[in-house]
């Protein structure tokens, strides 16, 4: 405790010497502990220190910086490997490095030597992302408000993801504490179809996970999924269903199945709803193995800042009533909500209640919420975040526009010819953005041609884009024309 009391003095000293400090603190049953963290942002590095209580006091510290293009963290770090329905979280005290390159496409002809016979047009430079780590792993305490690790064994691993147009391939290989995680995954994402699947070993246990969403026409979607859970006990879930939205009417239906603790539960649900002005009505019927069917009618009114919900649940000839509501503004948001969730603890469809409150006082944000996990347990979490700024300027962080005698100009369009504001274009080493008329320009010191790429992931325009056409190089005096489309 004496160490904790001396901390504010230390923080005051640090904040007076540097620019920006972030403070987080909180408590949670979801994460199983309490703690707080201070993070200092410097021009080329981010320093962080944490104290947590997780079955005893745990301490953590880390330094994050860029090294040869790799985002490198030395110290305590949470590593979340998540792709195609598989998730593996690791607590690391060591070194982790990651780097990514966005998928980039253009229509410039490739050199004859490197192109497929008969093909000269649109092509993409594959995107990739890699994360590698080595160090001591063990029990971690990783929350929005503190990061610390209790080391138990040595671990190392690598996650590699490769993207090419609509396809993303992932590979995860981890060895830690004598346990192996070797998982391979693939996902395909197009306008009407999204498929993802992964399988392999997760902490020495075989698993398979997959999901599919198909949208044959606008407003109608069909989905199916399969998932494996290992914590707090082994469980598997399957689901299929459909949603249809036509004007103000919605319909939905689905089948769920869970296998856990030697029990198999099957559930069915079907429902429909209508929206009239600010009022939405939804009626749904739920039935699961060995359970009385539930019929739930809910009416939701959405006003400017307010959302109010009234629900009637009918089961075995008895009615039960519930009310919910929420208020949301820039400074404060609070809500109480009821929903029907298919639980994996053998109880099938159950009504769960969630409470959430968040408010802001100057630069401090305070959050509190309850969440029902897939096993039906209500967990809570409460934390606060604040920023401190001393007003001192950070050295070596002032830049001056490059200038130059020659002007490279261009325009970014949609296929219908309308301009796109917020297109990101990398011209040589500089990144520029198109303005509201779609125009962009950059000054060059000489008349040589420079390479152009269009990193769609950096667009500030809302939505997801793909490049229809873009030149590979730009020369001062020759206007560039880039055509993009929303995906």
């Amino acid at each position: 405790m004496t160490r904790l009391i001396s901390l504010p003095v230390l923080l005051l000293f640090i904040s007076s010497a540097h620019g920006q400090l972030r403070l987080d603190g909180g408590t949670s049953t979801m994460f199983g502990g309490s703690g707080f963290e201070t993070t200092m942002y410097l021009p080329n590095t981010t320093l962080s220190g944490s104290i947590g209580y997780h079955g005893g006091f745990v301490f953590g510290a880390s330094d994050t910086f860029l090294m040869h293009g790799f985002k490198t963290t030395v110290g305590d770090e949470t590593l979340g490997f998540s792709f195609d329905g598989v998730g593996l979280g690791l607590a690391l005290k060591g070194v982790a490095a990651s780097r990514r390159r966005e998928l980039e496409c253009n229509d410039a002809p490739r050199p004859a030597m490197s192109r497929y016979p008969g093909y000269t047009g649109w092509h993409c430079k594959a995107g990739w992302e890699m994360t590698a780590f080595v160090g001591a792993t063990g029990v971690g305490f990783f929350t929005p408000f503190a990061t610390a690790t209790k080391t138990q064994h040595v671990g190392t691993g690598i996650l590699f993801q490769y993207s090419l147009k609509h396809l993303t391939l992932s590979s995860l290989d981890v060895i830690e504490g004598g346990k192996y995680s070797l998982a391979q995954g693939a996902s395909y994402s197009a306008q009407r179809l999204h498929l993802s699947g992964s399988g392999g070993l997760l902490n020495n246990q075989k698993y398979f996970s997959g999901s599919a969403v198909f949208q044959p026409i606008h407003g109608w979607s069909l989905y199916a999924n399969h998932q494996s859970f290992f914590i707090p006990y082994a469980a598997q879930s399957n689901g299929v269903g459909t949603n249809l939205v036509v004007g103000r009417f919605t319909w939905m239906g689905g089948l769920n199945e869970s296998t856990s603790l030697g029990r198999k539960i099957v559930g069915e649900n079907i429902g429909g709803g209508v929206r009239v002005g600010f009022v939405r009505e939804q009626s749904s019927w739920y039935k699961s193995t060995g359970q009385t069917p539930l019929l739930v009618h809910s009416i939701t009114e959405t006003l400017r800042h307010w959302t109010l919900t009234q629900a009637v649940t009918q089961a075995a000839g008895r009615n039960s009533y519930s009310f919910g509501g929420g208020y949301s503004s820039n400074r404060i948001s609070a809500s109480v909500s009821h929903s029907i969730q298919f639980l994996l603890n053998g109880r099938g469809y159950q009504q769960v209640t969630g409470v959430q409150i968040s408010f802001r006082i100057h630069d401090t944000v305070i959050n509190a919420q309850t969440v029902a996990d897939p096993f039906g347990k209500i967990q809570y979490s409460a934390y606060a975040e604040s920023y401190v700024q001393t007003g001192l300027q950070v050295a070596q962080h002032e830049t001056h526009s490059g200038g130059g005698k020659f002007l490279i100009q261009g325009k970014c369009f949609l296929p219908d010819g309308s301009p796109v504001e917020g297109c990101a274009i990398r011209i040589g080493k500089e990144i520029v953005y198109s303005n509201r008329t779609g125009m962009f320009d950059v000054r060059a010191r000489n008349i040589k041609a420079v390479e152009i790429t269009v990193p769609v992931g950096d667009f500030t325009a809302p939505g997801t884009f793909e490049v229809i056409s873009a030149p590979a190089t730009a020369t001062p005096g020759k206007p560039i024309v880039i055509t993009v489309a929303r995906r």
Partner: protein
């Protein structure tokens, strides 16, 4: 445990000081010049947040009347050359933009607007901050004062 939570809450309020967002400096520049002569100036844009922000810069002619400044595309006799019209500001970065302005007829006022996308709402609507740097050009010692007085927005001392 309770003491620890109390300490955390106390600590957060102890350090809850005001943090500023994006800023531009100086907000105005005045040039005592002649018609058609080029004036050179610069302004700094600072990103005080901890995330990188993309920015675009556009220039407009400004007419000032009793309702305040009215923006419209650059008049035919006004030329503005910017050293940079877009880019990305890193966390805490300060970026200097140089410009050259010439007006065929004086007095004239130009607004150089820097737009920064600072985020999106839950509905996907883009949130953009636009900060202006005003350049006042006239053949006098106090161009800004003269332009505002002519518009009736400032009284003669």
């Amino acid at each position: 445990m309770r003491r620890l939570i109390l300490f955390v809450v106390l600590d957060l309020f102890l350090f809850a000081l005001a943090a500023s967002a994006q800023t531009i400096a100086p907000p105005t520049a005045e040039f005592n010049t002649k018609p058609g002569k080029t004036s050179r100036g610069s302004f700094q844009t600072q990103n005080n947040s901890l995330q990188a922000v993309a920015f675009t810069i556009e220039s407009y002619s400004v007419t000032v009347d009793a309702r305040g400044p009215q923006y419209h595309p650059l008049d035919p006799g006004v030329k503005v050359e910017l050293s940079s019209t877009s880019g990305r500001l890193g966390p805490k970065q300060i970026f200097t933009t140089d410009y050259r302005i010439s007006c065929d007829s004086l007095p004239c006022a130009v607004a150089i607007k820097t737009g920064m996308v600072t985020g999106h709402t839950k509905d996907g609507m883009q949130v953009r901050i636009i900060l202006s740097h005003f350049a006042y050009l006239a053949q006098s010692k106090h161009p800004r004062q003269d332009i505002l007085m002519a518009a009736g927005l400032m009284q003669k001392r």
